[in-house]
């Protein structure tokens, strides 16, 4: 049962590792960014999982509810999601510029062109 009790954390680690694998092993820059965003989402799941309380409710004041989930991780991740999209936008516009300068978004071909100069 220990596995089921930590299931959310195990899946978060699995998703983070899949994201890391995409970043390290794939040469396409757009796909690398998709992997990076996947890593980000796994961290969000890790944080939100920590805020859950058994039998807790959504942290909005309601009559008759005495037990709420922890609102602090929610706030931190709310900020992180928006910042994550902003950085993804910068990364994708960098990819567009690289494509204009080199005519490709494959990392290996960019390196080849750099070396041939």
């Amino acid at each position: 049962m220990r596995f089921l009790q930590l299931y959310n954390y195990e899946i978060a680690i699995f998703l983070a590792m899949v994201g890391l694998y995409i970043v390290v092993s794939r040469g396409n820059l757009v796909k690398k960014i998709a992997g990076l965003s996947m890593f980000q989402t796994s961290v969000f799941i890790l944080y939100i999982s920590m805020g859950v309380v058994d039998g807790g409710s959504v942290p909005i004041l309601t009559e008759g509810v005495t037990r709420y989930s922890n609102p602090l991780p929610h706030v931190l991740i709310l900020t992180a999601i928006v910042v994550g999209v902003a950085t993804t936008a910068v990364a994708l516009s960098l990819v567009i510029r690289i494509n204009e300068a080199y005519g490709t978004v494959e990392e290996d071909e960019v390196h080849q062109q750099d070396e041939s100069f």
Binding site: V30, G84, L94
Partner: protein
Amino acid sequence: MSLDHAIDILLLAFMAVIALAVVRLRDLFGVAMLFSVFSLLSAGVFTIMDAADVAFTEAAVGAGISTILMLATLTRTAREEKPNVSRNPALPLIVVSITGAMLVFGTSDIPRFGDPQAPVHQHVAPRYIEDSPSEIGIPNMVTSVLASYRGYDTLGETTVIFTAGVAVMALLGMRRTRRRNGQRKDTD
């Protein structure tokens, strides 16, 4: 096991499958679409875990805007990922497996999922839950923490978004003026 927990397990299993599909898929349009589904599933997981505000934001920003940005990039770059011949797939797999094993080992003794006695629920969280409705006057605790107790965090977030906006304009906006200047030289 409650129904909530069963849905949580199912949605997270879906997300794991989609992550593996993204690794294998070479069509980048498909990757963008799968990524949108991935974000939407994570929004569902957040709803199950009582994080309604986070679920809203993830569904709007993660599944919506991120996907649009990725599709906009694909229209200006290649649609297919080229097969990589020079890279050795074994080395990243080994690195990732070792890192993952260490993380699993590191999380093996943390408090179980949903434990009310976990250290994360002991420090400032009780104060936010008990006092914020009377201190700030807003029933939604996430909003009062975001805009009042941790208002400086949100100010910093806004600064980051502004900087990112300036960076995107510097990267993509400058190019247009340069091209226009070039055209002007041609006509001269």
